[in-house]
Every structure is written in C-alpha cells, then in structure tokens.
Amino acid sequence: MLLRTAARCSFPWPAALGLLALVLAGCSPDNYPQTTLLPRGDFAKIADDLLDTTVRWALLVFVLVEGVLLYAIFRFRGKPDDPEPHQTHGNTTVEVIWTVIPALILAAIAVPTVRAIFETNATPGKDALTIEVVGHQWWWEFRYPEYNLTTANEMHVPMGRMVSLRMGSNDVLHSFWVPQFAAKRDVFPNRETRMWFTAQAEGDYPGQCAEFCGIQHGRMSHRIKAQKPADFQAWVAHMQTLKTKPTPAPPTTPPPKPRPGQKAQEGPPARPESIAAATGAGEKLFLAKGCIACHALNAFDAPKGMVGPNLANVGARSYIAAGTLKNTDENLARWIRDPQGIKKGVLMPNLGVTEAEAQALVAYLRAHK
C-alpha cells in the first residue's frame, strides 16, 4: 500500500527517502505495466500486503537507526587533542533492550507472514479453472484441459474465477511470473509446481520468465489477458473452432486440400484474391519448409510437447517470439527469414526463406487467429 501510494502520487512520503523514491517511482502506475506494486489479483494482493507490513517496519527502523547514527556522527565529532573520552565497555540493560525490540518487530512481521504462507499454499477449489503451464526454451505453452485447448505465450483468463496453474517444464528450469495477479513459481522438468490467482481486473498484462534458463532468458515474455467472463467464453468458443490438423507430411508431398477458407469466414469478410493465393502458397511453404514439424496449427485437441509454440491463433496475438517483436506483418516476415539474427540461439533455425516466401507465410499465418 505504501509503495503503491507512492506510485500513485496521492500523498508524499514522510521521509527524505520517500522523496527520492517518488522521483524514481514516477507518478503514473501505467508507466510500469509489469509492476508488483499494483496488485490486481488476490494472490498478488497477499504478497503486496505483506510487503506493506515489512516496508512500514523497515522504514521506521531505517529512519530511527540511521537517524541515531547521523546524530552520533555530528554530536561526537572530536579533535585529535581532545581528552580521552569515557571508556565504556558495554551496558547490559541497553543491550538487552536492543535485542528484545527487534525480536518484537520480527514477531510483528512473522505472524502475518505465516498466515500468508498458509493462505498462498491453499489448494484451489474444484470450480477453479485449471491451466497447465509448460516452460520451454524460450516460450510458454498454456493448456486448458477443461476446454481441450492449447495456446502459447498469451494466456487468456476469466475475471473473477480462480485460475489454478499446474506447471512443469519441457527442458530446463524456468519461473512463471504473473506480477499483477499472482507472483512467481519455478517450473521443473520432473515435478509439478502450482500457483493460483483470481484476476480482479480486466486487461492485457506482461510477465516474463524469472529463472535464468539459457541464452534467451531475457526474451521469454508472456502476456496475461484477463477478460470479462462472457468475453472469455467467446474466446474459448472461438478457439475450439480452430481444429485444423494439417497432416504432418514430408516436405515433398503436395499439401493437403486447402483449409484456410474455413477460417476465412472468421477473418475479415472479403479478402483480395492475391492474398488468398498467397495464403495457399504459404500453406504449401509451411509444410515444405518443415515448419509443421515444430508448430501445431490447431488450438483444439492439439498435440503436446511440440518444440515450437502453437500457432493456431498466431494472427491474433500481440507479440511474436515470446515478446521479442510486436506482431506486425513486417516483423513476422523478418522473424521467419532470420530468427537467429533476431533471437540468437533460439531453437528455430534459419531456413533460407526468401522475401516472397516469407510474405506468403505471413499471409498464411495471419489467417490463423
């Protein structure tokens, strides 16, 4: 609350430290979309309340102890030829007092801490929406077993319904972090970890991997899109229509019957013929270049454990390459042509895609939304 107030600028902090904090924290919380200080979910609220408690005590202790230190610095300034000061060796009463007082302050922090530990470790109820989170080098897979849906990097959640995260990793350790609604929890390849939260506000929020996981740890972001329950249900219904299952065919075989037409109905009403043609070419390339080996294109009943992110709704996402680039046609084409140049070490190889091929692939992927 205290730090949050500072972030909101509604009243100034009491201490000089506060002034500095104010300058540093800036005045509008909108400037910090990834902040932990404006909780919009129950789990994050528990963490923030605890932070407030400790910050209050810490500020009090800080001001008192540094104040006494400063006082001593000025009050007892001496000159080399001053007489020797009184030689005290200690004072048991004082020492007992300054052992007991910190102990009491810690007790005041410990009680709400223990309560919050048990609160945050509680098991979500049966009506919670389970989402399986799988960390990959360097992107996130999200599965909704209740709806048999899979998506990547952008998690949609309904406001007001508890979300129960069951998390794991496909390779190394990562840490899934939802600063606005929950907190973070590490994910492991060999054990399930859990976290839960209820989104209490609508919006599109960033988060990112918080456990060092290799060369592109810095480019492993995700987004949490909290929607009104009706909007969320609409999203689910839409995603469940994305059932296209392109046959995993060797690059030489001709592509299966074109299916994007099916999707075109959900897209913009009328599309120029050239784009439709490019889309068809894109579909061919998606197979010929081997994209299909790592990327699934169906959200419903999708295969698990794919190397690359599910692309069923890639056209609708805000970012590509786990937050690396905004999802524009230009960026998508650049990414398809040179993933290693943009995100060195990423598991997607440079496939020798020409500019024209990239345009066709972009058109094809754009149709997936």
Binding site: L24, A25, Y32, P33, Q34, E66, A72, V114, V172, L173
Partner: protein, 612 residues
C-alpha cells in the same frame, strides 16, 4: 611487551627478511608477503570484475540495446558474480587473514607457512584458469549459482560450464587449505595471555569465517563432483530424464551458498569492529555480545539455505521454518549494528579515511539488512526473488557491507602493510565518490525490481518503464569506476613517496601497532605477553603516553621457516590435473596421470624438505 628487543643492533639491508627479487616472492612462505600477493591478485580480479560490471551496465543503459550479444552478456554476468565472490571479496579477506591475524595474535607466522603459500598459488592458478575461458570464447554462462539442469551436457554442451565447475573446485582447494591453516593458527599460536575472549574482534570474526569455510566448502565440493560426473562420465545426479533431480543441486548449492554469504561479510564485520574503536578512541561496545552474535549468525547461517528457494514451492511448513529462521538472523545482526553505534556513542570521533569507510559500512549495511528482512517473508519474496530488488539487496550487503569494510581495512592497515601513508584528501574523495556512486547504482534497483524487472536479462523492452532507473544506475556505476581510479592514483602516489609511516599512526589498540611499519619478517622480536583486551592501549595507559618508535632489529637467532617452491609445484600438479580432466576427450588419460604425479612429487618433496 613487544617493545623490548632481543638485539640492540640496527638491522642492515642484508638482515633476515630483506631479501628481494622475483624468486624470493615465488618461494616465499612469509605470511605478510603471501598476504600482499593475495591482496594484489584479488584487487586485480576486483578491477576485472568491475570492468565486467561496467560492460553489463552499458548494455542495460538503454532498452533493446545491442552493445553486448546475449551470450556475451550471460558470460559477463556469470563471471562478474563468480569473480567478485571467489576471486575478489574472499581473497581480499584472505589478504587480511594472512597479513593481520599473526600480527594481531602476537605470532611470528601462521601455523603452516608452506600450506599458506600453497593456498595462494592454488588460488592464483584457479583464478587464471577460470578467466582463461575468455580466451576460448567459452567463459561460464550459466550464472554463478549454476542451477541444474541447465548445466547438463544436453543444455550446455560447450566448455563454459566445465571451466566454471573445475575452476570452483580448484578455488575450493585453496579455500579449504587456508581455512585449516588459519583455524589452527588462531587456536594454537596466540601469544601468552591472549585468551579467546581477549582476541581482537577481527580475529574472532575471522575464526568464525574459517569454521564456516570448513563446514560449507565440502558441500559445494561434493555438488561439483556430482556435476562433474554428470558432465564427464554420464551419470544422472541432476538429470531428470535419467531419474536425477535438479532441485538436489539447489539444496546442495545453498547449504554452501548461504554460509558463503557470511564468509563474505564476517571479515568486514571484524575490520569495522577494529576501526571504529580506534577512531572513536574508546573500546568496542559490548565485546561479548559481538562475539556471540557472530557465532549465532554463523550457526543460523546453516539453517536458512532454503530461503533462496521459496519460489520452488516447498510447501507451507518448510516455507514457515525457513522464513522464521531467516528472520531470527536479523536479531544478532541488529545487535552488531547497535553495538557499533554504541562504540561511537560518547566517543571522540576522528574522521580519517578508515573511519569514513567504516561508518559508510554501517549506514549501507543497515539498508541491506532491512531489505533482507523484507524478503524473508515468502509470499512477498515470491514477487521479489529473481528481480533487481534482490540485486539491490545483496549489493547493499556485499558492496555496501563487504567492500566498504574491506576498503576501511585497506586504508587502516595500509601503513602497517607497506610502511607508507595513503593520502587523506584522495582517500576522502574516494569515500564520497564511492558512497554516491554506490547509492546511484544500487538504490534504484530496489524500485526497478519491484516494478517488475527480472535479473539476468540481457535486455529489456521499451514500455515497461525501466529506462530512467537503468540510466541512473549506469551513470552511478561509472562514478564507482572513478572512485576506484582515485584509489589507484592514491596507491601510485604513495608508492613514490618515502617509506616513512610510523609504527602507530592511528593510536591503535592492537599488537600490530607495536612493531615497525612494515613489520620485519619475524614480526615480533620478542613474543609479547597480553594482559587484557586492547593490549596496546593497555600498555600505553600503563606507560602514561604513546610508545617510542620501535627500533628495527636484525632478528638474528630467530628461527623462521625456509622458503620453498614445492607448494607451487604441488599447485601446478592440481591445475594440470583439472585442465587435462577437462580435455580428457582430446588429450587422453596420460596427462591427467602425469599431473597427478607432479602433485605427488610436490607433496613428497614438501614433506621431506629439510627444515634448516
């Protein structure tokens, strides 16, 4: 006491301990020379780690910066952490252990002088080995904590992790040998009358540090051996696909890693506890409480490791235990801070450079301690962990704490070590630049961390609001760089001035100030007898005034250990063993066996080296 002399003849250049030249340094077993070697090497590595930090700060100075490639950034942040911990702060502390402990306890050398030389050479070779990785473009890139299973052969196929794992193993040998040496030295070699509860506080804190080293380093040694087996011989201790558990690494690492934090800070506690009384002109407040709080911190230090792992989801009971044990540590730490302020209270404070750094230490360490309490609370820590908030916290402890304390020690003991005074004006400039630069660099990290910036990211996107604070941090880092340039200028200036520091420039309380600056090889012409704490103040009080400048005596007839190069040979055997283990696939088994032979030869010749 120490002022009585065996031999009234003035020493000549040819006397004991005046040998010079490269060979005399290579074969030296003199604890003071080894201390200087430790200090010079560690300071070099400190500057190297500082340059690495500046490169990191340039990269983070703006959003989406491409100054460093991601792999270079990862190598630099790994090497910055590894260097500062193992090659800078620990050996800078070792410099003071080496140079000061025998002087403070009234001894002529450490218990095992050749083992001492061996520790230094192994440390030097280990540090060079670790940094040689840069020449192969394969510096460690998995973080100083080396979390499994990113370190497995599958996810880190290069030499990077090998350099780190074997480098740390080599450095661990140096640390363990040194810890044994100082443990025995402090137990066995104290001057008559120096009971445990009369030991100077630096000796006490060093003693506790040696115990921590002896108990913590075997754990990381075992962990590194398991990792080595995984990487070289295909075992699966940490490989989940083979039934191993990456979480095991975290437990082993932090059972070592948390005591390691106290290994880094306790020597600084000790230094500050020496400096504050001298420059307050009154004894340390609450000596016994200082001793026992140090012991208590060390003991608790082995029961808090999992607070580094709250985000792994250990369950409510484990979280509660480790939260409460962590909070408990704040109590003895608070006692220390209050006792330091109690030492200043009512004193006659003299603001020379060592005192400024000691006070800076208290002021900054308070902040680091308070942010530590803030993330001892697991649900709150789940937001803070792995963000820049934690980076801020541990830099307030390790820079605001350890480095400020060690710098106080450097200015305080410089005249004793080198016989030259450092310039006070430059020293004060160094202090103010460092205080300002330090806070500019690390204070904004609290905020940028709470606002959601994770650690160990090589860049950050625009629009998350991280730019301004990162710019301030980068500017601050350069102020810190300038602060240490001023220190370097100070050192070089003093080098050109005559070696004329008095024996006791600060009106010191402890035995080292009774002997000339720099001390002769044998330290004390006659081993002093101690009658109380602050032995030298006691003596001055009895005499009713300052002591006369001690005469330099020849020291003829004092038996000192002979120089030896066998420790260095043995150290090379150890280095070769690990280097060729790393290249086993290319060079085969024979170089490994040959290196082991060199190691055995060194130990054998060392053991049967004639004493006279």
């Amino acid at each position: 006491m120490a002022t009585r002399v065996l031999d009234q003849h003035h020493a000549h250049a040819a006397a004991h301990g005046e040998k010079n030249g490269l060979w005399s340094w290579i074969t030296t077993v003199d604890h003071k020379r080894i201390g200087i070697l430790y200090g010079a090497t560690a300071f070099f590595f400190f500057l190297l780690g500082g340059v690495e930090a500046l490169l990191l700060r340039i990269q983070l100075g703006s959003a989406e910066n491409t100054f460093l490639s991601p792999d270079t950034y990862n190598q630099l942040f790994t090497m910055h952490g590894t260097t500062m911990i193992f090659l800078a702060i620990m050996p800078l502390s070792a410099m003071f252990f080496n140079f000061m402990i025998p002087l403070l306890i009234g001894a002529r050398d450490v218990a095992f002088p050749r083992l001492n030389a061996f520790s230094y050479w192994v440390f030097l070779l280990g540090g060079l080995f670790l940094n040689a990785s840069f020449l192969f473009g394969a510096a460690p890139d998995q973080g100083w904590f080396g979390y499994a299973n990113l370190t497995s052969k599958q996810y880190s196929p290069g030499l990077n992790v090998d350099f780190w794992m074997l480098g740390l193993q080599i450095l661990g040998i140096a640390s363990l040998a040194a810890a044994l040496n100082f443990f025995v030295t402090i137990v066995n070699m104290r001057a008559p009358g120096m009971t445990l509860m009369r030991m100077p506080m630096f000796v006490w804190m060093s003693f506790i540090t040696q115990v921590l080293l002896l108990l913590a380093f075997p754990v990381i040694t075992v962990a590194l051996i398991l990792l080595m087996y995984d990487r070289f011989f295909g075992t699966n201790f940490f490989v989940p696909s083979g039934g191993g558990d990456p979480l095991l690494w975290q437990h082993l690492f932090w059972i070592f890693g948390h005591p390691e934090v106290y290994i880094l800070i306790l020597p600084a506690f000790g230094i500050v506890s020496e400096v504050l009384p001298v420059f307050s002109r009154k004894p340390l407040f609450g000596y016994a409480a200082m001793v026992f709080s140090g012991v208590f911190i060390a003991f608790l230090g082995f029961g808090v490791w999992s607070h580094h792992m709250f985000s792994t989801g250990m369950g409510p009971l484990a979280d509660t235990f480790f939260a409460l044990s962590t909070m408990l540590i704040a109590i003895p730490t608070g006692v220390k801070i209050f006792n330091w302020i109690g030492t200043m209270w009512g004193g006659s404070l003299q603001y020379q450079t060592p005192m400024l750094f000691a006070i800076g230490f208290i002021a900054m360490f308070i902040i680091g301690g308070l942010s530590g309490v803030m993330h001892s609370s697991p649900p709150a820590d789940l937001q803070q962990t792995d963000t820049y908030f934690v980076v801020a916290h541990f830099h307030y402890v390790l820079f605001g704490g350890s480095i400020f304390g060690l710098t106080a020690g450097a200015y305080y003991w410089w005249p004793k070590m080198f016989g030259r005074m450092l310039n006070e004006r430059l020293g004060k400039l160094h202090f103010w630049l460092m205080l300002i630069g330090f806070n500019l660099t690390f204070f904004p990290m609290h905020f940028v961390g709470l606002h959601g910036m994770p650690r160990r990211v090589y860049t950050y996107p625009e629009g998350l609001g991280f730019e301004l604070m990162n710019q301030i941090e980068t500017a601050g880092a350069f102020v810190l760089g300038v602060a240490f340039l001023v220190f370097l200028v100070n050192i070089f200036q003093s080098w050109r001035k005559p070696r004329n520091a008095p024996a006791d420039p600060w009106n010191g309380a402890t035995l080292e100030w009774a002997i000339p600056s720099p001390p002769p090889e044998f330290n004390f012409a006659e081993i002093p007898t101690v009658h109380g704490r602050d032995a030298l103040w006691e003596l001055k009080r009895q005499r009713g005034g300052p002591l006369p400048e001690p005469a330099r005596v020849s020291g003829a007839g004092i038996h000192m250990p002979n120089p030896s190069y066998w420790p260095l040979v043995t150290a090379f055997g150890i280095l070769g063993f690990f280097v060729f283990l790393m290249t086993l696939g290319q060079t085969g088994i024979w170089p490994v066996i040959a290196s082991f032979g060199v190691l055995l030869l060194g130990v054998y010749k060392w053991a049967y080296e004639p004493a006279g």
